[in-house]
């Protein structure tokens, strides 16, 4: 299905626009009557990604930075394969595991343990494969007895702990993380970063979106800075951070002056 080798991430000329509507779904009535008032008056489509090309090798850690709305999350969503491109191509080799939203992919009325099974199954694992990992996941999450309680009772920190514990044990070839780690406390963040390094030593590729320069510096040797859906900079972390700060300063300056 995918031409990319396991652990490889390739975006080529990727473009994607979103039509912004209060309610994304239409109705048959509108289809047959053939018009909808909100579409004409609504905001123009947002070009989340414009001709983005980037390539990440196996075992590499790429950071993505950019202002709000620069296309960071869209890049990850395109890489997971759940959002199709308007043009260009996106390929991730092997098993992709993503941590995009806190609590995404959980059934709220089911226990943490049941959600481990569900998440494993969602990534194509069978029962034996999940069972083999469950205890390690439970231990890593540090949820203790809460693992057998419905997750609707969890705090956001507990969601992240379970979410990361699952993601970190699914034998991912590519891991995509969007900001969520910031929700956990510092001790758990350190534990996550240590685990990520361990996984990367085993050949896992990481794409990490963060606003936190400290985390990015810690983990990524290379950073892509996105601006208005385009790649504004792609290179070593120190230079990228400098570029990102200039971008923020420029923006601040222009809004103050403008």
């Amino acid at each position: 299905m995918s031409a990319a080798a396991p652990g490889e991430v390739v975006l080529e000329g990727a473009s994607r626009a979103f039509v912004v509507r209060a309610d994304p779904a239409r109705t048959l009535k509108e289809l047959f009557i053939g018009r909808r008032g909100s579409e004409a008056s609504g905001p123009p489509p947002i070009h989340a990604l414009r001709d983005v090309t980037l390539r990440v090798g196996r075992g590499e850690a790429l950071g993505i930075m950019g202002r709000n709305g620069a296309g960071k999350t869209s890049t990850l969503r395109v890489l997971t394969g759940i959002v199709p491109l308007d043009s260009g191509s996106a390929e991730c080799g092997g098993r992709i595991v993503s941590l995009l939203e806190v609590g995404a992919g959980f059934g709220r009325d089911f226990s943490g343990r049941e959600n481990i099974h569900l998440n494993g199954a969602l990534h194509g694992l069978n029962r034996a494969e999940v069972e083999e990992k469950v205890e390690r996941i439970v231990a890593f999450s540090e949820l203790g007895d809460f693992i057998d309680v419905p997750v609707r009772t969890y705090s956001s920190g507990m969601f992240v702990r379970l979410g990361f514990a699952i993601a970190a044990h699914l034998d991912a070839d590519v891991m995509l993380i969007d900001e969520v780690l910031a929700v956990g406390d510092e001790a758990f963040q350190r534990k996550c970063l240590a685990r990520i390094e361990e996984l990367m030593a085993g050949g896992m590729t990481l794409v990490l979106v963060s606003h936190d320069a400290g985390t990015i510096e810690n983990v990524c040797a290379r950073v892509v800075v996105l601006d208005e859906g385009r790649v504004a900079f792609d290179g070593p972390t120190a230079d990228a951070l400098a570029h990102y700060r200039r971008l923020l300063d420029d923006h601040e300056g222009s809004t103050v002056r403008g």
């Binding site: 109705t27 048959l28 289809l31 759940i82 059934g107 199954a121 990534h123 194509g124």
Partner: protein, 260 residues
């Protein structure tokens, strides 16, 4: 590469569905068996004592078979319609074959339906004396019904994800549809049939669920092999529904994560 990497996901979803269904109701799974029984009792009383409809022997059994098929059909479609929206959190997170979501919903309903039929079987066989070779066709007919409903459910679920008035329209259509479906009556035997013989053909063949009811009823209640016309209709309808439902689903699923 394993042959069916998502079999466990499917199993998990069916289990979840079954558990979520009966959780919170005192009667548990039994609730799903009570529903058709109560409906049957109500209609049997109504037609036998109030409307004095006495053209069919063992009328409650005759009714119950029709109602069981109808409930499987209608409940599956209604549940499938909202299924992708219910599972939006999963659909937006991971790339997996999305057909699994409506398929799990239909499978759950199918399990409930088959349990009802199995419980009903000894009663029908004793009361109607229909133990015979035609029963070998029962799994075939039920299987075709399952495939037929699955095909429609795939179409309905993906349509409702994009057009949010599909489920309410379906809900509104099912009630009148119920009354023109040969559940209370035989399509070949109702007052005024002699004057309008074409009407029974419309009732029998114009309604895609009618031949399924007729086939199940032939096997269980009449104790005979369904006519070849019925069997061919049932097989073609099942195949056609599945092929079209899948094609529609595949065509429309691209933007699913965006519209949910």
């Amino acid at each position: 590469m394993r042959r069916r990497p998502y079999a466990y996901l499917y199993e998990q979803m069916v289990r979840r569905e079954l558990r979520q269904k009966y959780k919170g109701s005192v009667l548990g799974v039994a609730y799903y068996l009570v529903n058709p029984l109560v409906l049957t009792a109500a209609y049997a009383l109504m037609f036998t004592y109030v409307l004095r409809f006495d053209r069919v022997e063992d009328y409650p059994l005759f009714l119950l078979i029709g109602i069981a098929v109808w409930l499987f059909f209608s409940q599956s479609l209604l549940a499938a319609a909202g299924s992708l929206i219910d599972q939006a959190a999963l659909v937006r997170k991971v790339r997996f074959p999305r057909e699994i979501v409506p398929a799990a919903v239909v499978s759950t309903q199918f399990v409930i339906f088959v349990v009802l039929i199995v419980l009903l079987l000894p009663v029908v066989l004793i009361v109607r004396g229909t133990l015979g070779a035609q029963l070998l066709l029962l799994p075939v007919v039920l299987g075709a019904l399952g495939v037929f409903v699955l095909g429609l459910a795939l179409g309905v679920s993906i349509l409702h994800a994009y057009f949010r008035d599909v489920a309410p329209i379906l809900g509104a259509a099912l009630l009148p549809w119920f009354f023109v479906t040969p559940i209370f009556f035989r399509p070949t035997d109702f007052p005024g049939q002699a004057a309008n013989p074409w009407l029974s053909d419309v009732l029998r063949w114009g309604n895609p669920i009618a031949p399924f009811i007729e086939a199940v009823r032939d096997v269980l209640y009449e104790g005979r092999v369904p006519g070849s016309g019925t069997l061919i209709y049932v097989a073609v309808a099942a195949g056609l529904a599945l092929v079209c439902g899948r094609a529609l689903f595949r065509r429309m699923e691209r933007e699913l994560a965006v519209v949910l």
